[in-house]
């Protein structure tokens, strides 16, 4: 039901906060979704992400969550939320916005494509750590999906889009069907740690079995939409199959906590001999190899020329 929303901001424009007078120069559009648009902006010589909301109430709900989180995690890291304000567009309309830390990263699928799937256990572990922090503070992420995870250097992942974040025990505010526990007849839409772990599991299946996963979603009748169908994909995938037990526990909601799920993730991957598994050499290694081979050849040629 996304209605296109356009606050009419183009690169180079400067917007000024109505209440706090901070000014932000629009650099480019970073992304958009159901609730608004996110821009890369420059402010005090730094880069930030600025989200303009299509609905003041929805945006404020998101801000409330970010503010509570900031209070809870005080001192532990630099705050994610930077500023909250409104701006008046030259056309006279007022739009609410908030400013947050700019997360430099790429989508999970792109990251693994570029850096090689050897990184996936670590990326998964980092992401479970992020979720565990959130869960321990009494929140559930809710709308965990491909677009809402950005991965930076060395597999460090970061969650973006806090519109789905819900206090434990309440109904999940926003979700995407294919990652939703209720959609797969595997439990309720009440926010608990298991809800996010379920989506996490679906996300990793989608990552490694993209085609078969989407086929499954399109062909299964609602009454046959059960986790067992997802587990079948896990079992036949060489990357995922060592984690079969992990996935089955995530789907059944059997992890007592997200820390436990993270520990089990590590344990099962290492038991399965991830260290010994010889993955196809990633591109950087091939490149390095070619470069050194080239260097060797040149050296030899030079040596011959010089007549050593």
């Amino acid at each position: 039901m996304a209605t296109s929303f356009d606050p009419g901001l183009s690169p180079g424009m400067v917007i000024t906060g109505k209440w706090k007078q901070g000014s932000y120069r629009i650099d480019r559009l970073l992304g958009e979704g159901a609730n608004g648009k996110v821009y890369l902006v420059e402010h005090h010589r730094g880069q930030y992400a600025l989200k303009v909301g299509s609905d003041a109430v929805d945006l404020q709900s998101e801000v409330n969550v970010l503010q509570s989180l900031a209070l809870q995690t005080k001192g532990s890291a630099e705050s994610f939320l930077v500023e909250v304000d409104d701006f008046q567009h030259p056309d006279g309309r007022t739009y609410p916005f908030y400013v947050m830390r700019y997360v430099r990263g790429m989508l999970l699928a792109d990251y693994l494509e570029r850096e090689g799937s050897d990184w996936f256990p670590l990326v998964g572990f980092h992401l479970l750590g992020k979720l565990a922090n959130l869960h321990e503070a009494g929140w559930v992420f809710g709308d965990l999906k491909m677009e809402n995870v950005l991965v930076a250097d060395y597999g460090r992942s970061q969650l973006v889009d806090y519109g789905g974040v819900t206090a434990v025990g309440k109904s999940v505010r926003q979700f995407t069907e294919i990652y939703d526990r209720g959609y797969w007849s595997a439990g309720s839409r009440k926010a608990d740690a298991g809800y996010d772990l379920f989506s996490f599991a679906v996300l990793f299946i989608q990552l490694f079995e993209r085609r078969r996963f989407s086929q499954l979603v399109h062909t299964l009748l609602p009454q046959n939409r059960v986790p067992e169908e997802l587990l079948k994909l896990v079992r036949t995938n060489t990357t995922l199959s060592p984690l079969e037990e992990w996935f089955s526990r995530a789907f059944a909601g059997e992890f007592a906590s997200t820390r436990e799920a993270a520990a089990a993730w590590q344990l099962q991957l290492h038991q399965s001999g991830i260290k010994r598994r010889s993955a196809p050499a990633p591109r950087w290694m091939k490149r390095l190899f070619i470069a050194s081979a080239l260097l060797l050849t040149i050296t030899i040629i030079l040596m011959i020329r010089v007549g050593m």
Partner: protein, 241 residues
């Protein structure tokens, strides 16, 4: 909070205008949302216009969607309408207390408090949703998707902290001249939903307006019964729009 979700695929053709009926609902504090559901065909210009008009008169939303999107649409409409109902009530309060009628005109700090209260109400206020299903012949291939959407809505409502119930009606009724038939009375469990429409006889006419009036009547009788029993309609009157 009271809602009706009308799921249809065409124009009404007998009895009182559904737009008039929806305006009645709105006058009694019931919001009417309308989903026009398509398969690969088209709903036609008149169908689309009627859907928009019914929703406008009923203070609700209207959407034209493919069967595949039905569950998601019904779920989101219900949620949006809950927030909208609360927002309207809050606007009135703001007007009285602060002399300003919009949340946007509050400074960000105050806005945070107001929205926190709204979110809390959205989660906890009692909610009833009556689903009214067009069971004219052309809807037959879509009923499975309708059933799935009802099941999905129930899953969402069950996750709320406040009491949440649905009821299901279809129209026209089984006998000649029946405008509407109740399939499921107020419930908060999934048990009655599978095979909801298994035995349904599809009829030719589409008495959308009369059926809407019957559902309003159902709400009315029910409220009357409850008022007599415990003297409350389940929600503090200040919040009802």
């Amino acid at each position: 909070m009271k809602q009706i979700i009308l799921i249809t695929d065409g124009c009404s053709n007998v009895g009182v205008s559904p737009v008039v009926a929806a305006a009645h609902a709105q006058a009694e504090g019931i919001t009417v949302n309308v989903v026009g559901v398509l398969d690969d065909g088209d709903i036609g210009e008149f169908g689309a216009a009627e859907i928009n008009e019914i929703a406008a008169a009923g203070g609700g939303l209207s959407r034209l969607v493919h069967m595949r999107e039905l569950a998601r649409t019904v779920q989101m409409m219900t949620r949006k309408t809950v927030m909208h109902t609360i927002q309207n009530a809050v606007h009135k309060e703001l007007q009285q207390v602060l002399g300003t009628s919009s949340i946007e005109s509050l400074p960000p700090g105050k806005r945070g408090d107001v929205v926190r209260m709204m979110d809390e109400l959205g989660e906890t206020a009692p909610l009833r949703v009556a689903l009214l299903i067009d069971a004219s012949a052309s809807m037959k291939p879509k009923l499975q998707a309708v059933e799935e959407a009802i099941r999905d809505l129930m899953i969402s409502l069950q996750a709320r902290q406040g009491k949440s119930e649905i009821s299901v009606f279809h129209f026209p009724g089984p006998r000649y001249g029946d405008d509407c038939c109740m399939d499921l009375g107020w419930t908060s469990t999934l048990s009655g939903i599978p095979a909801l429409f298994a035995k349904l006889q599809m009829q030719g006419t589409t008495p959308t307006g009369p059926a809407l009036l019957e559902v309003i009547d159902f709400y009315r009788k029910d409220d009357y019964g409850r008022k007599n029993r415990d003297g409350t309609d389940g929600m503090k009157s200040g919040y009802v729009v």
